[in-house]
Each structure stands twice: as structure tokens, then as C-alpha cells.
């Protein structure tokens, strides 16, 4: 069920539901300087001082309510910010807004006034590429330390220069100087970067008023390991594929690999054999179950504290999935199983054993899930902690670009597996789960119910794979040994990862390596909603909200 009201068709949409770019250009009038052709959508080139006006018109009048990502890059002669716009109702309707800025003075108007999510995206663009955004509420570095010199993804960056990083956040919270001057009742507390409840190395700067949170600022970048740079210096064909496993490392590897595979395959026009698509779909859903299990297990850890039964049960079930995936891919965690145009190898022999093992797991899954429901969702203590805490209204979720279980827990009916179909999903029967509670409870519930749906998908895939004729088991399309897409091909493609919309922007320059590789991470966007959920709430509720967001710092920081 969705909270959204039914609407009349937007401006710029034809009767068939396709985008009419000419009508959109008319809507924007003189703001459009030029039009570009990207693989996924058309790009409207606009002037750097008309960003807010253009995006606001597109949002209000043409229904582009989802700023999926902001990509910044430097060319020989200019800087460029690309705003990838989509619609929550139909994510196949895409539009890129391209904002070139001069190389000697890269200043562009900020979009933070139109989309809340632009705030962090633009900070990242400033940090890594060096474009400045005028009118941005708080333009400072986000991933790198504030004392960093230079912008690492700009062209003249010298990686060998020394850097100095301060350790400032060691102030004693009881000291006078940690209080806000005009409000002596407040106290400043660092949560993280080493803290058991931050799911990794997140640092949350909180200002407390008694037990309540007066102000909250997530500080990220403690795991910024240059994933984009790594991908930019690797070749399309084989070298990039191992990296996606390490973005969202909660066993969601195959889901991430699919994001890259989808973008690269669409860029190079590779048709994936159907049999490989079924294997991909099955293994991706196994990953989703494993990822959600850990989310549920650690959420319980945050709520109840210590290593309790639910966490142990979640790990027990994950071990079963990891065994299945290890049989299939050869690795427990970093699968590196997909290849451009297919998968690395077929199901393990003897196939019957693999099917039996996977079916055994699926047969037990309903009982396991019931167990989790008994221990969690129908537990009174759990309910007291999570119902009506960490409320995220759907409008704000949209504005912050929240996707995945976070959006679906706020009643936004948005799932790329159904709305922008890829793989074998549109041939299978399954449901998109949404919950209208908008609170921590809904988000946990969505994950538990999604596991059930993933189980349905895997079951159908197993049936298909079992009956697949032996001579027809093609796992790999014919792909050239070296892949060199046409110069200046640009593409933005997203898949539904475990945490939400995982998108990849790539631009080719005619070589076998991408000239720009940008990762749109769902956790990065979801984490931005934390202040909305937590300000004014109690501090234990903030911990619960953080747990229900289910962030992975590897993906937040990349």
C-alpha cells in the first residue's frame, strides 16, 4: 500500500508513459543551452547560475521528485556536475541535468534548496573534484579530513604530497568548552568512530539536552578507501568486478556486482543469456537474504544489547547461505562471481546436491522467519523501543533520496526490481513490500517480509534452473577480450541493492578504463535522514534509528 495520492500525468510524458524531451525543453525554455545524448537518458545542459530554477521547475511541474545522484567530473577544458533526475513513480523516466563550469573558476549554483539530498552529494563533489556550490548551506569536506590539501579526483592532483590529519574530537564532554555558549544545559558527545552501535566507523557528533538530542551531525569518511579511483584505474572487462563486492560487504556482493555489470553491459551493448540471468537473480536474492539477516541481527543487538539469541540465530542462518554461495561462487563473502555478459561458471556439480541444499534452506526459511517474528516484532520490549520512534515522513524520505527498505518502510512504493526491471525479475511472481508506519518498526518489518519474498524468487529460479535443457545452459555471452566503449559514452544505471538504489555512472574516453566512475550509494543517501529521525528524540532512539537505517560504512564512504 502506498501513501501517495494518484496524480495526473506529468508534463513531458507521452500517452505511452515515455518521456517527451522536446516538451520538457519547452517547459524549461531558455534555461536549456544544449542537449546531450546519454545512454540512459537525455542530458539538458544548463548555465551554472540557473541550477535551482531549472531543478525546481522539473520537480514541481514535470514530476522529477527523485534526485538520484550528483556526479562531478573534470574535463580538459571544464568542470561538470550532472544531476541525475528520476521519478519515484516511474524510475525509467530519467533526465540528466548537465551543469558545466569554467575550469579556472568552478562555481555552480547549489541544488540543496530544491532537493535535501543534494547537500551531501555536493559536499562530496566539492571534496573529491573541487567544484564549489554557491548558496550551499554548509560546503565543507565530507569524506576527507578537513585539513586535506587538493581534490583527489581532479586532474592535476598529486597523490604523493604529504597530508596532515588532526585528531580533534577528544574533548571531555564534561568540560565547559563542550557546551553550547548560549545554552548551558547542553552537552556535546561524540558517538564513534569506534563505537559498537555505529555499525562500523561512523562518527556522530551529538549535542544533548538532557537525554534528548538537540543537534546531530553524522561525520563520515573513516572508511573512504578511494573506490572510485580504484575503478577508474581498472579495466572494464575483469579488473573492476572485484571492487563492487567491497562496497556493501554485508554479503551483498552479488547485488553490487550486478550494478556494475548492468551499467557496463548497457554501455557496451552486451546481451546476457537468459540462463545466466536466472542464476544471477537467484544468487542476488540469496545475498539479499543474507544482508537482511545481518541487518535484523545487528538491529536486535542495538536494541537489546550484547550478543543475544537473535544475533546468533541470524549468524546461524547466514552461515547456511554462505555455504550455498561458497559452493556456487567459491568464496564466502567477496564472491566476484559475475562477469560482463554472464556469470563466472555454472552451478556446481552435482547439480542435484546444490538444488537440494538450497531447497532445504528455503524449506526452513518460513519457520526461521516465524522465529524472528516471535523474538522481535511480537516482542513487547522490542515494540516499545521501535514503534513510533525514528519517524521519517515520506515527503522527507523522498527529498533525501532515501531508497530501499528505508523508503519502503515510509510507504514509498519504489523497488527497481519491479519498476526498472532487469535480470529475470519481471518474469517471476513476487511482491514489493511496503509499510506505512514510517518508524523503526516498519523498516525492520519490511526487511523481514522481504526475506520471504526473496525466498519466493529463489524457489522459482530453482524450478527454472532444474528444468533448463542441458544443451541450452549458456552462462556467458560473447564479449571481446578488451572492452573499449565509444569515447564519451555516458551512462547512469541503477539496481536494487540490499540497502536501496545502487547506481553507477560511467563515462568512457575510448580506452579500456572508465574516465569517470561514480557510485551512487544508497546508504550515503539514507544516512542523511538520520537528523530528521533523531533530532528532539532520546539518545537510545537515535541508536535504534541508526540500526534501522542499516548502513554499511564501506558503501557510505566508498
Amino acid at each position: 500500500m502506498s501513501l501517495e495520492e494518484p496524480q495526473a500525468p506529468d508534463v513531458g510524458v507521452t500517452g505511452e508513459g515515455d518521456l517527451d524531451y522536446d516538451a520538457l525543453e519547452d517547459l524549461l525554455g531558455d534555461n536549456v543551452v544544449d542537449r546531450e545524448q546519454h545512454e540512459n537518458a537525455e542530458g539538458f545542459v544548463i548555465r551554472p547560475d540557473e541550477v535551482e530554477e531549472t531543478l525546481s521547475t522539473l520537480k514541481e511541474e514535470a514530476g522529477f521528485d527523485h534526485l538520484s545522484s550528483v556526479t562531478a567530473q573534470e574535463y580538459q577544458d571544464r568542470y561538470e556536475s550532472i544531476y541525475h533526475l528520476k521519478k519515484f513513480d516511474d524510475p525509467t523516466q530519467e533526465l540528466s541535468v548537465v551543469v558545466p563550469t569554467a575550469r579556472d573558476d568552478p562555481v555552480s549554483e547549489s541544488a540543496a534548496g530544491v532537493f535535501d539530498t543534494a547537500e551531501w552529494h555536493e559536499r562530496e563533489a566539492y571534496d573529491l573534484v573541487g567544484i564549489e556550490y554557491e548558496g550551499h548551506p554548509d560546503l565543507r569536506r565530507i569524506l576527507l579530513p578537513e585539513t586535506w590539501q587538493g581534490h583527489p579526483l581532479s586532474q592535476d592532483y598529486n597523490q604523493d604530497k604529504p597530508q596532515i590529519v588532526p585528531l580533534r574530537e577528544h574533548a571531555n564532554p564534561m568540560e565547559e568548552k563542550t557546551k553550547i555558549p548560549d545554552d548551558p544545559d547542553t552537552m556535546f558527545v561524540n558517538i564513534g568512530p569506534h563505537h559498537p552501535a555505529t555499525h562500523g566507523v561512523l562518527h556522530v557528533k551529538t549535542t544533548l539536552d538532557g537525554e534528548q538530542i538537540a543537534d546531530l551531525d553524522p561525520d563520515i569518511g573513516y572508511l573512504h578507501r578511494c573506490e572510485e579511483q580504484m575503478c577508474q584505474q581498472s579495466t572494464y572487462r575483469h579488473q573492476i568486478m572485484p571492487y563492487p563486492d567491497r562496497w556493501d560487504y554485508i554479503s551483498a556482493g552479488i547485488l553490487n556486482e550486478w550494478a556494475y555489470a548492468r551499467a557496463a553491459e548497457d554501455m557496451a551493448d552486451i546481451e546476457v543469456p537468459e540462463y545466466a540471468q536466472v542464476i544471477r537473480t537467484m544468487s542476488a536474492e540469496l545475498c539479499r537474504i543474507a544482508a537482511h539477516l545481518l541487518a535484523v541481527g545487528t538491529f536486535a543487538l542495538d536494541i537489546y544489547g550484547d550478543f543475544t539469541a537473535i544475533f546468533m540465530y541470524a549468524i546461524r542462518d547466514r552461515e547456511v547461505i554462505q555455504n550455498i554461495l561458497e559452493d556456487l561462487t567459491g568464496q564466502r563473502l567477496m564472491f566476484n562471481y559475475m562477469r560482463l555478459g554472464g556469470v563466472a561458471w555454472d552451478l556446481p556439480e552435482p547439480r542435484e546436491d546444490f538444488f537440494e541444499q538450497t531447497r532445504d534452506f528455503l524449506d526452513e526459511l518460513p519457520d526461521r522467519l516465524e522465529e524472528y517474528h516471535n523474538l522481535l516484532t511480537s516482542n513487547e520490549i522490542f515494540q516499545m523501543r521501535v514503534i513510533d520512534t525514528g519517524v521519517l515522513p515520506p515527503e522527507q524520505a523522498k527529498s533525501f533520496g532515501a531508497t530501499g527498505p528505508v523508503a519502503r518502510g515510509s510507504g514509498i512504493d519504489y523497488d527497481l526490481r519491479r519498476d526498472d526491471p532487469y535480470g529475470y525479475y519481471d518474469e517471476l511472481e513476487w511482491d514489493v513490500i511496503t509499510e506505512d508506519g514510517c518508524d523503526n518498526f516498519s523498516r525492520a518489518l519490511v526487511r523481514l517480509k522481504e526475506m520471504e519474498q526473496s525466498g519466493r524468487i529463489i524457489e522459482q529460479c530453482l524450478d527454472l534452473l532444474e528444468d533448463w535443457p542441458e544443451e541450452d545452459r549458456e552462462i556467458q555471452a560473447n564479449v571481446p577480450r578488451t572492452l573499449k566503449p565509444e569515447p564519451d559514452t555516458e551512462i547512469y544505471r541503477a539496481v536494487e541493492g540490499a540497502k536501496g538504489e545502487l547506481g553507477i555512472y560511467m563515462r568512457s574516453d575510448g580506452t579500456d578504463k572508465p574516465a569517470r566512475f561514480k557510485i551512487r550509494s544508497p546508504c550515503f543517501c539514507n544516512l542523511q535522514t538520520l537528523p530528521v529521525m533523531s533530532e528532539g528524540e532520546y539518545i537510545p532512539d537515535m541508536i535504534a534509528s541508526l540500526g534501522s537505517l542499516d548502513i554499511v560504512l564501506g558503501e557510505v564512504d566508498r
Partner: protein, 232 residues
């Protein structure tokens, strides 16, 4: 026990070794088969150092510390099936002040390195370090990254390296067991190559970069200076 006669009498009368140790009427729970095996001479003769090492190696308190991908496998190592606790080394402590082993599970980047050093410094002596995964050996797959520290040893001393990306839980257990063995034998020899230290900003050599940052950083702020060109 005031004199020899009384002591002799007590030993004569002792029906259980427990009474010999603690007098009559003590709860049965304080007894044990091991204790009974010692009979009326409950003494062990050993070197103090050897005894302390054995104790240290048999009861290791790990720091609950997750960085990146490896921490997922580390969680699996702590939890059911692999259950590191079987080896007397699996109770994670949330505070560094209660821990004596730190497993470093993941990539260390420039912003985190000073914090890692700080957490390590907060642990009481004696402390041991197990570095988990390729990233903590050399930077692993991210070695060429502009922001990645080329191994944990650049910041803190390391006792045991567990290679892998990520290492399987079995590998981590092997690494921890190996550490326990070495501790029990008094063999620890942590590898120390620490080019990066926490220093006060004012103590840094006055080069171009320091002068540039002078307006942003206070003289008594703690900083870490990374010399990327000298990294392996």
C-alpha cells in the same frame, strides 16, 4: 592454625581435601576433581613468568572493533559455528580499557589512522594486535588509493598477520590460536614499523604544508602527518 600439632591433627582428620583447604562446613561447590587430585599438597612449583604467560594466553579479551569487510567475518568468528570463545579468546569488550587484544579488521584510511592509534593507546598493557586481512598488511586491493594507509604497521605494532581478503573464520581462529601459543610461550615479538605517530602540531617540522595549515590547526592539536611518497 597456631602450632604444628594442630596442623597435623587437621590433616589426619581430613575426609575431603576441601576441608583441608578451607576448614569444615564449606560449600561443596568450592571443590573440584583437579583440586582433589592434588590431595593434601595443593602446591605447584613453576616459574612466575611462565605461569603469567600461560594465564595471559588462556584468557584473551578482544576489543569489539569493526572497521570494514573483515569485521563481518570477524563477527562470524565470534558467533555460533566458529565460536572463538571455545579457545578462551572470544569475549569482545566494548571498551579498549578492558581489552588486551585488538583485531584490526579492515582498511585503515588517513582519517581513521589517528583514531586507531588512540584506541590502541587506550588499551592497558600488556596488549597484543592481530591484523586481519590484506588491507592491514599492505593496503590490500586499495593499496594505490590516495587515502589508504599501506598496512596497520604504519600506525601500531602488529603481532600476528592473518592474510586473506577477507580471511575465513578458520584462518582468524588459527591466527588467534597462534598468538595465544606465542603469548603462552613468552615469544611475542611485535613487528614495529611505525612511521606515523600522533604529534602535537606545534612540534612538526616547519615545512610548506605546516605553514599553510597554521591558521586552521592549533599548536597543541594532535595530528598525524602522512608522507605518501615514502609509503611502500
Amino acid at each position: 592454625m597456631s602450632n604444628d600439632t594442630e596442623l597435623h591433627d587437621t590433616l589426619e582428620q581430613a575426609q575431603s581435601t576441601q576441608e583441608a583447604r578451607m576448614g569444615e562446613g564449606v560449600d561443596e561447590r568450592f571443590n573440584s576433581t583437579l583440586r582433589q587430585a592434588f590431595g593434601h599438597t595443593p602446591f605447584i612449583l613453576t616459574k612466575f613468568d611462565k605461569f603469567m604467560n600461560w594465564v595471559r594466553g588462556s584468557s584473551m579479551f578482544m576489543l569489539l572493533f569493526g572497521i570494514a569487510c573483515c569485521s563481518i567475518e570477524m563477527m562470524h568468528t565470534y558467533a555460533v559455528k566458529h565460536d572463538l570463545d571455545r579457545f578462551g579468546a572470544g569475549v569482545p569488550r566494548a571498551s579498549p580499557r578492558q581489552a588486551d587484544v585488538i583485531i584490526v579488521p579492515g582498511t585503515i584510511v588517513s582519517k581513521f589512522a589517528p583514531r586507531l592509534k588512540r584506541v590502541y593507546d587506550q588499551m592497558p598493557e600488556p596488549k597484543f594486535v592481530v591484523s586481519m586481512g590484506s588491507c592491514t598488511i599492505s593496503g590490500g586491493p586499495f593499496q594505490e588509493g590516495y587515502n589508504v594507509i599501506k598496512g596497520a604497521e604504519e600506525v601500531i605494532p602488529v603481532d600476528i598477520h592473518v592474510p586473506g581478503c577477507p580471511p575465513r573464520p578458520e584462518a582468524l581462529i588459527y591466527g588467534v590460536a597462534k598468538l595465544q601459543e606465542r603469548v603462552a610461550n613468552g615469544e611475542t615479538a611485535p613487528v614495529t614499523v611505525k612511521p606515523y605517530e600522533l604529534e602535537e602540531f606545534g612540534d612538526l617540522e616547519q615545512d610548506e604544508l605546516v605553514q599553510q595549515l597554521a591558521s586552521e590547526v592549533d599548536d597543541d592539536d594532535l595530528v598525524m602527518r602522512f608522507n605518501w611518497a615514502d609509503s611502500p
